[in-house]
Amino acid sequence: MDFELNEDQEALAEGVAALCAGRFDIETVRAMATDGLDRRRWTELAETGVFSLTRPESDGGLGMGWADAVVVLEQLGRALVPGPLVATTLVAALIGSGGDDGSEIAEGAAQGTMVVGTQERSPGRCYVEFLPWIDALVISDDEGLWCVDAASLSTAGAAPAAHPLDPLTPVTAVAELPQGRRIADADTAAQWRQCGALLTAALQLGLAAGATDLAVEYAKQREQFGRPIGAFQAVKHRCADMITRVEVLRAAVYAAGTTLDGNGVDDPAHSVAVAKVLASSAAAACGKDSVQVHGGMGYTWEVDAHLYLKRAWVNDHTFGDGDHYAEQLAAGLIGRYQ
């Protein structure tokens, strides 16, 4: 057993962090709220291997594991990189190049030429994320995965919400999801949901860590009563609670990634549920605490704290929320006594 990052994973994390620092600085990221997704920079993510990382080598990908993917997604979350990172990674990872309907999309996703969103099928009106930014939408349900051309949805009278909860997650109300064309079977759809929950939890980990970094830096610099506010225990202890949530969540996310790769001792479904439950509470709690540590400035558009919090809120409702997975874990516990 060695549950530390290996050298490759450390290099991966550093590489993605450096890419984010250079190409996804916060001004660039914020500009996408009005200008839309920066396709050139999205392609740079692809060129770094972000979307082909977990694509099998036989399909031209890098053939790396989910444990590697969570390390990457954590860094992207930390930098608030917007866009359908999880869906685009999933389509490249789970849809092969073997001539079926989705292969072109998967190929494009891996190379960064196709931006792919996702949505769990539900009846009636629903919000679809990133519709103006994406080329294709993958709808998942119990029967499989279904693909819809994004343009066809956009022209069907759907208009993006003027004020999405997260300014960097545009949402569009769609009257009814079309059936779409089937690109994968029910088993792949189940895998889609499980891996999607894991990668979303990894993004949430990055958001929690980023919100914590932001608060800690501010607490070191901001002075009141003649000293940095981080010297006061009321503030210091809040920061300690933030990093505690981050570290517990990190252990859960890394464990789930490792387990999905077959290098664990737990059941994959269980470990993913654990990660998503903790991600759901930790990311939002760290976002809120980051706002609080910033005081009045934390409630302004200018300070990034609200961006971490709002993204955390959105991600909680992607690939199953905390309550859903808590119910799943409880059912396992209670079921032992039935």
Binding site: M1, D2, F3, E4, L5, N6, A67, V216, A219, K220, R227, P228, G230, A231, F232, Q233, K236, H237, C239, A240, D241, I243, T244, R245, E247, V248, L249, R250, A251, A252, Y254, A255, G257, T258, T259, N263, G264, V265, D266, S271, A273, V274, A275, V277, L278, S281, G322, D323, Y325, A326, E327, Q328, L329, A330, A331, L333, I334, R336, Y337, Q338
Partner: protein, 396 residues
């Protein structure tokens, strides 16, 4: 990242399991009367002797000092398997095994080591800890128990508190003030105090749980030979801190496994308890809190493996131990609240929940109060995390 165990680690686990299976049948239950400390000493030390005879004593001690010299991962497996098998706890051997012994290994003279280490491993010597004082809790270095220089002896007068098992201990690791004029960390000396010396008076402290393993210790001109000093005169604070380098992230492994068992039992209780026509397990709030706690304990088990892996690579854990303790104490307190809600009026007595549960959720609810206090309060842990991990400025 790899959570799988190596072949050698699995072989160690198999061998240990087989051995536990062969010996545990002959071990009786822990003495029912928690206030009978002599009985507890006899029970705990006889288990220590069994470990010793089988070569499992001092699992984490270096082989040259009689230990098994196991890796941190083997130590984790040992603690996991002994807890899962329901083996006795370290109990009265705690201070000797986990604190005084490692300190002696790091700092004592060969003569002191040969006198004390083997009897700690075999369960012949029980140690207690004379660190805290009524006026020195979180601020331990402010301790005032005074040691005067008298030729080849120190003459010690003062008062110690929270000295668990002092009544049945043979030796005490004692911190004394040898220079009241020096800065507080530089006037402390570390002594081995035999508990049969004249001038030692022990009074039991009854805890909120009604148990009596705590004691306070009054020292009145106790003459301790200078050959019992470990480290230099006035260098006791450093000697004390050295022990923390032995921490390998394994401190709460038994607790985590035991907590998972408690939670599973609580889920069983939730299925039995009915309110009106519904079972407690039909209540979504209760179910989700069960699920969240399951997630937290599972993540804390993963965090333990991270801390142990870090220790395996670097030899240290660092503030990861404080992070763990904060999160663990929080999870356990919430589990206590949940147990209270589920049990309702069946939780009005310690040790008997009207046949609803196998385990003592009521006693645990009281015990859980210690988790944010003992071994560094959560307030102190948050200072450590804030200052050492996050680099926030001190408030002094």
């Amino acid at each position: 990242m790899d959570l799988c165990y190596t072949e050698a680690e699995e072989a160690f686990r198999d061998e240990l399991r087989a051995w536990l299976n062969s010996v545990l049948g002959d071990i009786g239950p822990t003495p029912a009367d928690h206030t009978d400390l002599e009985a507890r000493r006899a029970y705990d030390t006889s288990w220590q002797r069994i470990l010793y005879d089988a070569g499992y004593a001092g699992i984490h001690w270096p082989a040259e000092f009689g230990g098994r010299g196991s890796t941190p991962t083997e130590h984790l497996i040992f603690l996991e398997e002994t807890e899962r098998a329901g083996a006795p706890y370290v109990g009265v051997n705690f201070v000797g095994q986990l604190h005084a012994g490692p300190t002696l290994i790091a700092e004592a003279t060969p003569i002191q080591q040969s006198a004390h280490l083997a009897p700690i491993l075999s369960g012949d010597h029980v140690w207690c800890q004379g660190f805290s004082e009524p006026g020195s809790g979180s601020d331990l270095a402010s301790l005032t128990t005074r040691a005067f220089d008298d030729g080849d002896h120190y003459v010690v007068t003062g008062q110690k508190i929270w000295t668990s098992f002092a009544q049945v201990a043979d030796y005490c690791e004692l911190l004394v003030r040898t220079d009241p004029d020096a800065p507080k960390h530089r006037g402390i000396t570390w002594l081995i105090m035999p508990m049969d010396l004249p001038g030692i008076e022990i009074r039991p402290i009854v805890t909120a749980l009604g148990a009596g393993e705590f004691a306070e210790m009054f020292l009145d001109e106790v003459r301790i030979p200078k050959v019992n000093r470990v480290g230099d005169h006035n260098d006791g604070w450093r000697v004390t801190m050295v022990t923390f380098a032995f921490e390998r992230g394994t401190a709460f492994i038994s607790e985590i496994i035991a907590s998972q068992r408690l939670l599973a039992d609580l889920a069983g209780v939730a299925r039995k308890v009915t309110r009106g026509s519904a079972r407690a397990s039909d209540d979504a709030e209760i179910r989700r809190e069960l699920g969240r706690l399951e997630a937290e304990l599972d993540a804390l088990w993963s965090l333990t493996k991270r801390n142990v892996s870090q220790a395996q690579r670097t030899g240290m854990v660092g503030p990861g131990g404080s992070v763990f303790k904060l999160a663990y104490a929080d999870a356990r307190k919430r589990m206590s609240q949940l147990a209270e809600r589920i049990l309702g009026r069946a939780g009005l007595a310690i040790g008997d929940t009207l046949d609803l549960s196998e385990l003592d959720h009521v006693g645990e609810r009281i015990y859980t109060l210690t988790l944010t206090i003992a071994a560094g309060t959560s307030e102190i842990q948050r200072n450590i995390v804030g200052e050492r991990l996050l680099g926030l400025p001190k408030d002094r």
